[in-house]
């Protein structure tokens, strides 16, 4: 694609800038700094790939949005198929702007991505449109350079191969490195080695197990032998120990047996009987002391009884005295309250009297009590009251409504009168009827139609006249044009003359004359044919003309007839119009008059409508008035009806009052108030009666009390006290009664005490006698003379018993050490034959022998335990070994997996690396070689070629005899030239891929660092040569560069970009 025209509507500082007549080869755009060269470069980028993305975080200056006006512009390009395209890029909703690509000369739109065919912004910026900065940036990092080379040559704009190489290498290194420790495979292998060592240590223990097993059996045998020996010694030791243990009790037993034999025999002394004696003696002594203690107590009780006397007559009247005492309080309070009650009664009586007087002279207690004021009559009265209230309300409402209706009637009458007055005023005479107006309107419409018809006929007439005139004119014109003489006749005549002249001249040369004559004859014949054709055409034209003449005559006649009928129709219509005008007395001269009458009609119609509205209103109001009067009448009737109903109710109420013995002419409300008053009177009457009853009761209670007191005094045979002393006398009597009651209780207690003591003394005396008899019986049974004899015999018996018990204790000790029967006999026999020393010696010997054998046993058992543990340990080791073997297998699996993973990663890495190498060898050198050729040209053959056999990391310049110069030692200028050459080579490589459309190449002052005139010239030639195949827009601020480029490419177009955003076309060198 090549630019033909670029129009920048608004892009940064550039506005309405147009670059027209762009060369398909090299274009040099010169401009001072800040003139907008870089902005133009950016515009070209934006045109293809959109404006820079909006980004809050970065400067939006990259978008080159103008301060005002439209953002963007357009360009016209030509593609490789010589088709013209227009690309518009205008700022819009999308961040990248709205893009439209149109194939000029067609309606077809093309998608920009399709147009660019896979080229993206990055590729374009890297290769096709670059500034000096970007050229420098290109040289910053060798790795990036490599990536971009690959990106450009592979048709992919990513550095995936290098990333892939790095990733695959990392993958492999993560799993295993030669001397690594932390990598997963290294770790697994280390663990595997450890496990193998552990397993080796635990393996092959079956043989050891067999040896251990033999050893264990031997130790088990030893333990058995020692245990047997120990059992024998143990028996001996036990016997010796038995002798030691029982020796002391044995010696004591023998001594006790001797003492028993020496005690005297008491065959007649019954120890069983004698055993009861101590208890009897104690019992007898206890009884005697108890009897002695009770006797003085009895005497004291009897003395107290004698001093304790009681008045029985008072005690017998105790209940009465107590009752009087209890009632005394009531009696005294009654006496105090009676005068107050009487006073209260009197006051109540007075109130009753006053209320009855308030009711009226005809009212007394009896009548007041007689009238029923219960709930039922009250409800009836309330009902009456409600009914009266309703009736009164109804009556009042009816009166109110009646008066309101009367007012309405008056208002309506007044309003109707006013309306009628208004009608009379506005319409003294009634306007014409609707039918009349309708008829007039129809007549007017008809006149309008008639006017139009007349006009139409007039216009038609006019047209017909003009038509007739035109045809007549045409006929006249046709007649003026006569036949024009034929050129053929003149031609034949001229050719004959010419032939004769020529024949005369050529008379002396007969051959030539014959030839010329022949030629003239041919010409004459030709001319004759032409003239004949002309004559035939002329004849045809004459015939047509005659035909047309006849036609026009017929047409005129026809048109004149039409005109005549048209005029007639106009006259008839006019007559019709005048007849209508006459009917309605209209002066219809023109259509304007008709319009005037039409307006009049409209006014009349409006008046009529207004009149009819008034009439309708009056009619409606009369109707309303009649309706209101009807309502008024109904209301009057209703009021009368309410009045009569009210009177009837009044009568019924009076009857009801009579029936209930109530005063007449009182209203239900008053009656209810009377009821309330009567209720009050009745309450007072009930209170009074209650008070009277209470006073009577109290008086009776006092009299009864006094009577009971008198009766008691009489019973006790005492003097009856005065009434006033009555309460005190009762109190004194009550006190006396209390003291007598206490005395009676005390006496009763003393009597009980005395009886108890007497009973106890009697019992104890009898028991004492019994005990004395038992003691005497025992003495006789034990063959004792007296108590002393008895005590002596008891002492001897006790000694014997003690000795026997001691013997038994020693025998029990012996029994506890030996079994009964033969064993016991043997033991006693053995003991009889021993002495203390021999017993001791025997035990010591046995003990020493046992200790010795026991030590041998524990040693043998320990050894047996050790071997047991050893075997157990071996069995445990087996479990450990199983687990280790399992783990070993797990590690083997892990190692297999990791090896597989490592090998996959490593193989991937090797293959990727080989791919890179092949790429460099097979494809990369073509680009490098071409770049080298270009470089060689730039450096005027100083550098022979560029060598990159080991990738771009090791690019070298071949300086011929001076050897090779690695990239690191290149000057900045050389590097930049190399990168320029590399780009140009890439573009050639890129565009050589058939399906890719070459894009315009834009360079922004990329020759700044081309040092030296010759090198600049050579670089310019490199660009110029390149521009012969690809379109180049070269921006520069250096006139020298522009000049060098112009010299290298004489056909280049030069433009001058001014600071005011205008552009001037400079003539190229060749043109100048």
């Amino acid at each position: 694609m090549k630019f033909e025209k670029i129009h920048i509507a608004g892009f940064g500082a550039l506005q309405n800038l147009e670059l027209d007549g762009i060369s398909p080869g090299l274009n040099i755009i010169e401009g001072a700094n800040e003139a907008g060269k870089t902005t133009m470069l950016e515009f070209v980028r934006a045109l293809f790939f959109g404006f820079a993305q909006r980004d809050k975080n970065t400067d939006d200056a990259r978008r080159y949005e103008p301060k005002s006006g439209e953002h963007g512009g357009w360009a016209i390009l030509q593609n490789s198929h010589n088709e013209q395209l227009r690309i518009d890029r205008i700022g819009g909703k999308s961040s990248s702007g709205e893009c439209k690509v149109q194939l000029l000369g067609t309606d077809r739109d093309i998608n920009i991505d399709v147009l660019l065919n896979g080229a993206d912004r990055l590729l374009y910026e890297q290769i096709f449109a670059f500034s000096l900065d970007e050229l420098s940036d290109f040289s910053q990092s060798d790795q990036r350079v490599q990536n971009r080379i690959y990106a450009a040559s592979s048709g992919r704009s990513s550095d995936s191969l290098f990333n892939a190489l790095k990733r695959s290498e990392d993958d492999a290194k993560e799993i295993y490195t030669k001397r690594g420790r932390n990598q997963s495979l290294n770790k697994a292998l280390a663990a595997y080695r450890d496990l193998q060592i552990q397993i080796r240590e635990l393996s092959g223990q079956v043989e050891d197990y067999n040896t251990d097993h033999d050893q264990l059996l031997e130790h088990q045998q030893n333990v058995e032998t020692v245990r047997e020996k120990l059992a024998v010694i143990k028996k001996q030791l036990d016997t010796a120990k038995l002798h030691v243990d029982v020796w002391e009790p044995w010696v004591q037993l023998v001594a006790l047996r001797n003492e028993l034999e020496q005690l005297p025999a008491q065959t007649e002394f019954d120890e069983t009987e004698a055993s009861a004696m101590p208890d009897l003696k104690v019992k007898s002594e206890q009884l005697q002391s108890a009897i002695e203690e009770k006797q003085p107590r009895l005497k004291r009780v009897e003395e107290e009884l004698e001093n304790c006397a009681v008045n029985t007559s008072i005690l017998q009247s105790a209940a009465q005295i107590k009752a009087l005492k209890e009632q005394l309080g009531t009696y005294e309070s009654t006496l105090r309250a009676l005068p107050l009650d009487e006073q209260k009664l009197e006051s109540t009586q007075e109130q009753v009297k006053v209320l009855l007087e308030q009711l009226g002279p005809r009212w007394n207690e009896e009548r007041a009590e007689k009238i029923d004021t219960s709930r039922e009559p009250r409800l009836q009265i309330q009902q009456w009251e409600n009914e009266f209230g309703n009736q009164e309300k109804n009556l009042h409402d009816a009166v109110q409504k009646e008066s309101a209706t009367a007012q309405q009637v008056a208002q309506q009458e007044l309003s109707l009168q006013r309306l009628q007055d208004e009608i009379q005023k506005e319409f003294p005479a009634a306007p014409p009827e609707q039918e009349v107006l309708k008829e007039r309107a129809e007549a007017l419409r008809e006149t309008e139609l008639l006017f139009r018809k007349i006009e139409k006929c007039q216009l038609r007439g006019e047209f017909l006249r003009k038509e007739i005139a035109a045809i007549q004119n045409q006929r006249e014109e046709n007649e003026i044009h006569s036949f024009s003489p034929s050129i053929s006749a003149w031609a034949i005549f001229a050719s004959l003359v010419l032939a004769l002249l020529t024949g005369g001249i050529l008379w002396h040369q007969p051959l030539l004359a014959i030839l010329v004559a022949g030629v003239f004859v041919i010409i004459t014949i030709a001319l004759f044919v032409v003239s004949r054709n002309q004559i035939s055409a002329q004849t045809q034209r004459e015939e047509i003309k005659n035909q047309r003449h006849h036609q026009s005559v017929n047409t005129i006649t026809d048109l004149q007839n039409q005109l005549q009928s048209c005029d007639g129709e106009a006259d008839a219509t006019s007559a019709q119009l005048q007849s209508i005008a006459h009917k309605y007395a209209w002066n219809l001269q023109s259509q304007k008059d008709q319009q005037q009458y039409f307006e009049e009609l409209l006014q009349d119609r409006e008046k009529r409508l207004r009149y009819e509205n008034f009439q309708d209103d009056a009619k409606r109001r009369s109707g309303d008035l009649a309706a209101i009067r009807e309502i008024q009448k109904t209301q009057n009737e209703k009021r009368e009806s309410h009045k009569s109903t009210f009177a009837e109710q009044q009568n019924e109420w009076n009857d009801w009052l009579k029936t209930h013995h109530l005063p007449e002419t009182t209203s239900p409300r008053q009656t209810l108030e009377l009821f309330d008053f009567l209720e009050k009177v009745r309450v007072l009457l009930r209170n009074r009666n209650q008070q009277q009853l209470e006073i009577a009761a109290k008086q009776k209670q006092g009299a009864d009390f006094e009577y009971a007191g008198n009766e008691l005094w009489r019973k006790l045979d005492l003097e009856i006290p005065e009434k006033i002393e009555f309460p005190n006398a009762i109190r004194a009597l009550s006190d006396d009664l209390e003291s007598q009651q206490n005395a009676a209780i005390r006496r009763k207690n003393l009597l009980d005490n005395k009886q108890q003591l007497q009973d106890e003394l009697e019992t104890q005396n009898s028991r004492l006698q019994e005990t004395t008899m038992q003691i005497e019986s025992i003495l006789s049974k034990c063959d004792c003379v007296d108590q002393n004899d008895f005590d002596n015999k008891v002492k001897i018996a006790k000694e014997r018993n003690e000795l026997q018990q001691k013997c038994q204790a020693q025998e029990r000790i012996l029994a506890s050490h030996s079994a009964p029967g033969d064993a016991r006999v043997k033991l006693e026999n053995d003991l009889q034959q021993l002495d203390a020393q021999s017993v001791k010696d025997q035990f010591g010997t046995a003990q020493a022998a046992y200790a010795e054998i026991d030590a041998a046993r524990s040693y043998a058992e320990r050894l047996q335990g050790e071997w047991n543990n050893k075997i157990k340990q071996r069995e445990e080791n087996e479990d450990k070994l199983t687990a280790l073997l399992r783990q070993l297998e797990i590690h083997k699996s892990t190692i297999a997996d990791l090896t597989q993973q490592w090998m996959t990663a490593r193989l991937t890495n090797v293959l990727l690396d080989s791919t890179r190498e092949r790429f460099e060898q097979e494809r990369q050198p073509a680009v490098i070689k071409r770049a080298g050729e270009l470089m060689s040209g730039v450096t005027l053959g100083r550098y022979k070629s560029v060598l990159a056999s080991r990738g771009l990391n090791a690019v070298e310049l071949d300086e011929g005899e001076r050897g090779r110069k690695p990239l690191s030692r290149w000057s900045r200028g050389t590097k930049e030239q190399f990168y320029l050459a590399l780009r140009l080579a890439f573009i050639e490589d890129y565009c050589s891929q058939a399906h890719l459309e070459p894009l315009p190449v834009v360079m922004d002052d990329v020759l700044v660092h081309s040092d030296g005139y010759h090198r600049l010239a050579s670089a310019s030639e490199m660009i110029a040569e390149f521009a012969e195949r690809y379109q180049v827009l070269y921006f520069t601020c250096r006139p020298g560069d522009a000049e060098a480029l112009s010299q290298a490419a004489p056909t280049a177009r030069r433009f001058q970009l001014e600071r005011d955003s205008s552009i001037k076309v400079l003539l190229s060198m060749k043109m100048s």
Partner: protein
């Protein structure tokens, strides 16, 4: 001749470790360590429950030349149990527990009979004190017995009236998966007047002939991923000189391989669900603990997410959490391909195309092959790797591995070049 039943088991490999385990999961460890013993116990219980007359163990009772003690003790205890139930047991030694292997001094009951290495007299089996069967057997004197040992099975004419059994541990029919010890053919076996050939050595159960019966019961417990599927022993019912064979499963832990195609799977969630259902179904079918190896294959959207570092481990862990405690996901392998057609990419004029074409040229490009083998030898020649993976000749081994490696490297390289790795 009265009819009777007996059990034919072989290759118990008691105490043998599981090969190919990937996790040190305590529960797997517990089941795996006990699995061979559990299978042996099941044989003993089966014998007692079915009241068989005797049990045959056709070699390789133990796994190593130095059989572990625990294995010997457990075997002795099992035989004692059989003896208590009145069941005899008869044993030959195979290549793993040959006559030269070391044994613990253990007391076996009288009903236990073991053929001594080399030539032997036949052993009689009695039913109610009447001989009913005669067993011919041969025990390996050393690990490798490469001769045909059928010459040791000389059936005597006086034994024709009994049910004749030949116990033989060897490779019948030349099974390439197993060492070619005591080689012979089915036809050769048929020439010997034996009614039932109780074979051992091959670890998968198979009946080579019905009359005479020639059968491998296989190992009662699969010990490696290769030994997947059902394992057990034969319960044989003998009548006259014919017999019927019934296979009884005795494995407590079963290896299964699941290959799952990810094409059409839209998300990890869907993958979990699908695999979960698949495994649950297997578990319900087998009714025993499973050691599962899952290989994800095919092309699909999930391929790129599986390439992320640690993705497979995360998926495996999550899946394991969802499973019942008796399903162990031993390994989750990613054999998926990128979601594009490698063949088409190979034809492209791009770096990826160059890469894929180059990978296919390894075998034909000597220099590249040499370069690849040299690079891979760094690990393949490692002593410990050789030991762990039992590599004898690293170059040969690498050449064997290469086709699979190339396939994986192609997929990985394509991912990396497409920026998906």
């Amino acid at each position: 001749m009265p009819n009777f039943q007996f059990i034919h088991a072989a290759d118990l490999h008691l105490g043998a470790p599981f090969v190919g385990l990937h996790q040190n999961n305590p529960r797997v460890a517990q089941i795996a360590d006990e699995a061979t013993y559990a299978a042996f116990d099941k044989i003993i219980q089966l014998a007692i429950a079915r009241k068989v007359l005797f049990v045959l163990f056709a070699g390789d009772i133990y796994d190593a030349e130095y059989p572990n003690l625990k294995a010997q003790l457990r075997f002795r205890d099992g035989v004692r149990q059989l003896d208590k139930a009145g069941i005899a047991s008869c044993v030959i030694r195979g290549n793993h527990d040959h006559g030269g292997s070391v044994r613990a001094k253990l007391d076996f009951p009288d009903s236990y009979f073991e053929f001594a290495p080399g030539a032997n007299s036949p052993h009689f089996i009695y039913q109610n004190e009447i001989p009913v069967a005669v067993i011919y057997g041969y025990s390996y004197p050393q690990r490798a017995v490469t001769e045909n040992i059928l010459r040791y099975y000389n059936v005597r004419s006086e034994d024709q009236k009994y049910f004749r059994i030949g116990m033989l541990h060897g490779n019948v029919g030349g099974d390439a998966e197993h060492d070619n010890y005591a080689p012979c053919s089915v036809a050769q076996l048929k020439e010997v007047a034996i009614d039932y050939w109780a074979l051992g050595h091959v670890h998968q159960a198979k009946v080579l002939s019905d009359a005479p019966a020639i059968a491998y019961p296989g190992t009662p417990q699969g010990l490696s991923p290769r030994e997947n599927g059902t394992h057990g022993c034969y319960l044989v019912t003998a009548q006259d000189h014919r017999c019927t064979i019934e296979f009884v499963a005795t494995d407590s832990l079963r290896w299964i391989d699941v290959e799952y195609d990810i094409s059409g799977i839209e998300s990890e969630e869907e993958l979990f669900r699908e695999l979960g259902d698949l495994l649950s179904e297997q578990y319900a079918k087998t009714k025993r603990a499973l050691i599962v190896r899952i290989a994800l294959t095919g092309r699909g959207k999930l391929h790129s997410s599986l390439q992320k570092s640690g993705a497979l481990i995360d998926i495996q862990d999550y899946l394991q959490q969802q499973m019942t405690e008796d399903i162990f996901i031993n390994r989750l392998q990613d054999l998926t391909q990128p979601d594009f057609d490698l063949k088409k990419k190979r034809a492209e004029n791009s770096i990826l195309g160059d890469y894929l074409r180059l990978s296919q040229s390894i075998n034909s490009d000597e220099e590249l092959l040499r370069k690849v083998l040299l690079a891979l030898a760094e690990v393949a020649d490692h002593t410990d790797v050789k030991s762990a993976l039992e590599i004898h000749q690293s170059n040969e081994w690498l050449l064997q591995q290469l086709p699979q490696l190339i396939e994986q490297a192609e997929a990985r390289g394509a991912d990396l070049l497409m920026g998906e790795g």
